[in-house]
């Protein structure tokens, strides 16, 4: 409950303090991160190809918005569908292998989609991206304005977060966590592990797809980077900064990541260098992410305040 109040407060206050476009991007990236975290945090599958679903959905829905003027609900629905279907195709190949092979396959197939988008210039615009994507009117409401669009995205984020909470607390979510903890045991209990992994993949893909469409409508363009592997790496990183162990980790992570990268990218054209350095520092020193650093801080304070002999050990 406390977490929800904090998130509601953040949703309301964010556009007061940061530019609307950045505030909107934060919630879009959070939806993207929620999808990845179902795989990474809950199922223990590190997917390095989430941009495949994000980008595919952005291109397909963007194309239909641009040339056929479809309405918002259809665009969102198509985004979710494209995300889920592309994830089903990629996932079918990837879940057959485990561990390192799984990671390499998600990456390699991401590259396949990237090079397809790169070369199919008549549709995707190749390196120039696919510009001119409109924001359609919804039920007579105009979501052209930055604040109106922000409200739309923030609303969809809250719905996504609620849906993801229901998923991870459902029996399916528990099975996925069982797979993460001990795969042979989950299999021995009678669960079809590869099918469950595929389900997680498809659900994660649907979230990525939703984020992809919202991204395309936010900037009015689908840049080639949206389907590139650096984008896949970024969402893994954002989830990691937040802490992949909890439902809210990717939300915090996307806030930190977008805010950081928007500020440094304005300062220096070579900002991916700083991003790389940040990757290395976080991985070497802050592995549990913000959520764990926060918990450690409070445990440390509690330990300092507690009388001697009643000391609580900090987690880990």
């Amino acid at each position: 409950m406390k977490a929800w109040l904090a998130i509601l407060a953040a949703v309301v206050l964010l556009p007061v303090f940061v530019r609307h476009a950045i505030a909107t991007e934060i919630w879009i990236f959070a939806i993207f991160g929620l999808g990845l975290n179902l795989l990474m945090g809950y199922t223990g599958l590190l997917s390095f190809g989430q941009a495949t679903f994000f980008g595919s959905a952005a291109y397909v829905a963007g194309y239909l918005l641009k040339y056929y003027g479809i309405n918002l609900f259809l665009a969102l629905g198509i985004g979710v569908l494209v995300g889920a279907v592309s994830a089903a195709v990629v996932g079918y190949l990837c879940v057959q292998r485990s561990g390192l092979y799984f990671i390499m396959l998600t990456f390699a197939l991401n590259q396949m989609f990237f090079f397809t988008a790169y070369q199919w210039t008549t549709v995707t615009g190749g390196e120039d991206g696919m510009p001119g994507i409109p924001r359609p009117t919804v039920l007579g409401l105009d979501i052209h304005g930055p604040l109106a669009y922000y409200a739309t995205v923030a609303g969809l984020f809250l719905v996504s977060l609620w849906v993801m909470k229901r998923i991870v607390e459902s029996p399916l979510g528990k099975i996925l966590q069982a797979i993460r903890e001990n795969e042979p045991r989950a299999e021995a209990l009678g669960y079809d592990v590869s099918r469950m992994k595929l389900v997680a993949f498809v659900v994660g893909g649907a979230f990525s797809g939703l984020a992809g469409v919202l991204y395309a409508m936010l900037f009015g363009i689908v840049p080639l980077e949206a389907i590139g592997f650096v984008f896949s790496g970024n969402v893994v990183f954002a989830t990691l900064i937040g802490g992949s162990g909890s439902l809210y980790g990717p939300v915090i992570g996307s806030f930190v990541f977008i805010w950081l990268s928007e500020s440094v990218s304005a300062m220096w054209a070579r900002w991916p260098l700083l991003l790389g350095v940040a990757f290395v520092i976080v991985v070497l020193f802050f592995r549990g992410g913000v959520v764990e650093a926060w918990a450690r801080f409070w445990a440390w304070r509690a330990a300092r305040r507690a009388p001697a002999g009643a000391r609580v050990d900090a987690p880990r």
Binding site: R97, Y101, I103, M104, L105, A108, G233, R270, L273
Partner: protein, 287 residues
């Protein structure tokens, strides 16, 4: 279609295929021994090419450059393993992987800062310029050289892994790390050596590629994907498999380039997907 064109495309495919095999074997050693899919492998490939370029600029000797480039990249590999991966032994492979991803960003951006974001070209050494008449077609000397050189390097890697004591330790490390360390072998030194060796192989593959494709900071990106494809098809530590997979991918790519050039990169991944659909364990994979 003219037969000569077909033959020269197949030869092109074999030359690039050998380079793919070299990349794949290097990655396979790292991934097999340390359990990390090295995401910096592509960036180190690019660094090898740029090192070759710079040494040639400074000294003017191609052969010296060809020897120094992989040495430099290998030394960087030692540093990366020692300073970055070693502290993460206990943290789990996901974090080691993210570390290599961060490093790939750093190396790529470093290349842009030190050299330039604009692509450059590198001529082969004078001896290897021009072509040879093969009877059916004229073929550039340098590409033949690459085919032979990469082939010899792969052979060297095979001899090292199969016939030397250290190679046997490395293969044992791929199979069962715990057992190796129980036998009294310093497993950490093995990790450093394997990582450095894999990096050096990426470096020399990059150096050999520079006179064919030229240099740009992102030249490693598609190479990384291809190296993953080779490993996924061949299985970890499988040298013969890596060669077959590398050549298969290289030839498929250059043949598709004849009639549908736009699809020539995507086809690599399509070939992989098709093979994995039929044989999920890869061409020779057991695991």
């Amino acid at each position: 279609m003219k037969a000569s064109l077909l033959v020269s495309q197949v030869l092109n495919g074999l030359a690039t295929g050998m380079l793919y095999a070299l990349m794949g074997i290097g990655l396979s050693i790292i991934t097999g021994v340390l359990n990390i899919p090295n995401f910096a492998h592509g960036a180190l490939f690019a660094l090898g090419a740029y090192s070759l370029y710079t040494v040639i600029q400074l000294v003017g000797n191609f052969w010296l450059a060809l020897a120094l480039a992989p040495l430099g990249v290998g030394l960087l590999g030692v540093l990366i393993e020692y300073g970055g991966i070693r502290p993460l032994y206990k943290a789990g492979h996901d974090y080691q992987l993210l570390l290599t991803f961060g490093l790939s960003l750093i190396v790529t951006e470093g290349i842009i800062i030190v050299w330039s974001p604009v692509g450059m070209s590198q001529l082969p050494p004078p001896v290897l310029r021009g072509g040879v008449d093969l009877g059916i077609t004229f073929y550039p000397k340098y590409r033949l050289f690459v085919m032979v050189a990469a082939g010899l390097l792969v052979l060297g890697a095979w001899l090292f892994l199969e016939k030397t004591r250290y190679g046997a330790i490395m293969r044992a490390g791929i199979e069962d790390k715990e057992m190796v360390s129980l036998l009294g072998i310093d497993i950490h030194r093995l990790f450093t050596a394997a990582f450095a060796l894999g990096c050096a192989m990426a470096g020399i593959a990059g150096a050999l590629t520079a006179p064919i494709r030229g240099l740009n900071p992102w030249m490693g990106v598609d190479m990384l994907g291809i190296a993953f494809v080779v490993v996924a098809l061949a299985g970890l530590g499988n040298l013969l498999g890596s060669i077959v997979a590398g050549l298969l991918v290289g030839v498929a790519q250059s043949l598709v380039a004849l009639f549908w050039p736009e699809a020539s990169v995507a086809v690599i991944f399509a070939v992989m997907a098709a093979i994995l659909l039929v044989r999920p364990q890869g061409l020779f994979g057991i695991r």
